[in-house]
């Protein structure tokens, strides 16, 4: 059962198994174990970014495709929901779902079509040129999104109402459970959690399928993969389309969670760098690594500042150190942590853990 669920791709390391269990269970009980708006927000972001990073790993780690357009697909998913909900609105207590369905469907069509187009036109060229092409397309798309303000709300993005059952005002019952109020927010969180879990397991299945083994062959030696009869362009393009579709679904989840979509939160190049870091730090070509990387990075982005504030307070009065641990320096420390991570775990955290065994 578990083997089948994980597609025979077991963690193969005790520590990795424990870490993954901690993530799955931790996220499942997060609303009750860590009540509060901020922690719930962080938990939902972690879910979304695990999916996004894992889908990027399908490209980077498994197929050897370096793409900088991954956030574009993420944005397409988010804007799909945002535009549909803004335009169609939420009618009545049970309404809004048809808008969500249409938004997701449209986003998937656009994302897959765009990925197929980019793939068929440019996956024949060398890795570095492909990376540049995706960078250009993604930049153009981001500009387009902020210029088409009638449709996308421009730089400000779109704010919209979610279906009633997903709103904080929707109450399941009057009481609270372990300090968490049982409202629409909770339902929304578990929607995000469940879909994310299914998507990650789906990606795990794809990379461990016969198709996935061809992707790895292409990563290892595209010339030989062609020589034994695999049309590498077809496989690479399919991998791009799948990754794009999953990224769009991750974007849709984010939009369903945050009830807003803007260039900053869905299309910015910063997010692209973040998911690149997640995959590299976690360990490329493992899917699990993307999950670990996403957890670490989202945590750091949200809590490193708080941690530094504590350190800063503890060292108040010590001349240089107090300044060094000032909460404003959190990006510096994040950078240091990443450099150390890449230096000591060149194969990522998962690679390191699996070596140890």
């Amino acid at each position: 059962m578990l083997r089948s669920l994980l597609s025979d791709d077991l963690p193969r390391s005790r520590w990795l198994s424990l870490a993954l269990l901690a993530i799955v269970i931790g996220l499942a009980v997060a609303p009750f174990a860590f009540p509060g708006a901020k922690s719930l927000n962080v938990a939902a972001k972690i879910c979304v970014f695990i999916v996004l990073a894992a889908s990027f790993d399908l490209l980077l780690g498994y197929t050897g495709i370096v793409s900088f357009a991954h956030t574009m697909f993420f944005g397409i998913g988010a804007y799909g929901i945002a535009i549909a909900l803004t335009r169609m609105g939420v009618k009545g207590p049970g309404g809004g779902w048809e808008a969500i369905a249409i938004g997701v469907a449209a986003a998937l069509v656009v994302a897959v079509a765009l990925a197929a187009l980019i793939g068929l036109f440019s996956l024949r060229v060398r890795t570095i040129f492909f990376a540049m092409i995706t960078l250009a397309v993604a930049s153009a798309f981001a500009i387009l999104a902020s210029q088409l303000s009638d449709l996308t709300g421009g730089e400000d993005g779109l704010n919209y109402r979610l279906p009633a059952v997903l709103r904080p005002s929707f109450s399941l019952s009057d009481g609270t459970l372990f300090g968490a109020s049982l409202n629409g927010r909770l339902l929304d969180y578990y929607l995000v959690y469940a879909v994310s879990l299914v998507l990650v397991l789906g990606l795990l299945r794809i990379v461990n399928s016969p198709f996935g083994s061809v992707l790895m062959a292409i990563r290892e030696n595209p010339f030989r993969a062609e020589a034994i009869g695999y049309r590498t362009v077809v496989y690479r393009t399919l991998a791009s389309c799948i990754a794009a579709a999953v990224a769009a679904l991750a974007g849709a989840l984010l939009a369903l969670w945050s009830s807003q979509a803007s260039p900053d939160t869905t299309l910015s190049f910063d997010i692209m760098v973040d998911i690149l870091l997640m995959v590299v730090i976690g360990g490329m070509g493992t899917i699990y690594g993307a999950a670990l990387g996403a957890v670490l990075l989202v945590f750091a982005q949200n809590y490193l500042q708080d941690l530094l504030a504590v350190l800063n307070k503890a060292m108040a009065g010590v001349p240089v150190l107090a300044n060094l641990f000032h909460p404003d320096r959190w990006l510096l420390w994040l950078g240091v942590a990443f450099i150390l991570c890449v230096y000591f775990f060149p194969t990522g955290i998962v690679g390191r853990l699996r070596q140890k065994r």
């Binding site: 089948s4 597609s7 025979d8 299945r205 794809i206 461990n208 399928s209 016969p210 198709f211 996935g212 083994s213 061809v214 790895m216 062959a217 290892e220 030696n221 010339f223 030989r224 993969a225 062609e226 020589a227 034994i228 009869g229 695999y230 049309r231 590498t232 496989y235 399919l238 799948i242």
Partner: protein, 249 residues
């Protein structure tokens, strides 16, 4: 039957393969010999589609396949082993062979089943590994195999493709003497089946003499001799090609 007609490729002004017309019949083993730089590997690349021909045609069973891509030709039954070892380095020995078996099965696009559940592919791959006596190396990562074993794996991948036409490009190059017979026995076994076309590029003249039904000599991109081993090996033109080639170098 595999045929090439006036097959030519030019790099700038230099014709690496120049108007080679030749036919290869099923059930025969043809050795292609010639000095270094004679165009043997380039000729192979033109046949298997790694390089596009400047002029001339490649025909397979009467069909013109000159415009076909390498993967297309591979699926039509043109199997190729490479001179420089050309594996999937980070995958295991078994996975390298399994990927080749999988081509024929047409399961490459199956995304929803676990690769590990396709027992028949894995079993077939193990048979091919056994044929080159690499069974106990099945779970070794290809890049960490000794050179001789990598050469054997190269042959196992070719076997796994189950092609109609086997193209061996110096299959024993760099192998230790005691490993050579494994590969030669395999080639002899394929030949014995009688229905396969075998093309062999080889420098070791004793190997060529014992295995070949026919020898083709390439020199400076041109086909300069074609005949049975007895007459070719002792002919002046071969001696001249080899010694001349050596003298040029």
């Amino acid at each position: 039957m595999l045929e090439t007609q006036d097959l030519t490729i030019r790099f700038g002004g230099h014709a690496a393969v120049n108007g080679v017309t030749c036919a290869f019949r099923p059930g025969t083993l043809t050795s292609i010999v010639g000095p270094n730089g004679a165009g043997k590997t380039t000729y192979f690349n033109l046949i298997s589609g790694q390089l596009p021909a400047t002029a001339g045609t490649v025909r397979l069973n009467g069909h013109d396949i000159t415009g076909y891509s390498a993967p297309h030709r591979a699926r039509l039954g043109l199997g190729r082993a490479f001179q420089l070892t050309n594996l999937f380095p980070d995958l295991t020995t078994l996975e390298n062979v399994r990927l080749a078996v999988q081509v024929k099965s047409g399961k490459g696009l199956d995304m929803f089943s676990r690769a590990s559940t396709h027992r028949e592919l894995t079993d077939r791959a193990r048979e091919h590994l056994a044929a080159v006596s690499l069974t106990d190396r099945a779970d070794t990562v290809a890049a960490t195999l000794p050179h001789g074993d990598q050469r054997k794996l190269e042959v196992a991948i070719l076997l796994a493709l189950e092609p109609d036409i086997f193209m061996f490009d110096e299959p024993t190059a760099g192998m230790s003497i005691d490993e050579v017979p494994t590969v030669l026995d395999i080639i002899a076994a394929i030949k014995k089946r009688g229905d396969k076309t075998i093309l062999l590029v080889e420098h070791k003249m004793d190997v060529v003499r014992s295995l070949s039904d026919r020898i083709v000599v390439l020199h400076q991109g041109k086909l300069v001799a074609d005949g049975n081993p007895g007459e070719i090996i002792n002919s002046d033109i071969v001696r001249e090609a080899y010694l001349g080639g050596a003298a040029d170098a």
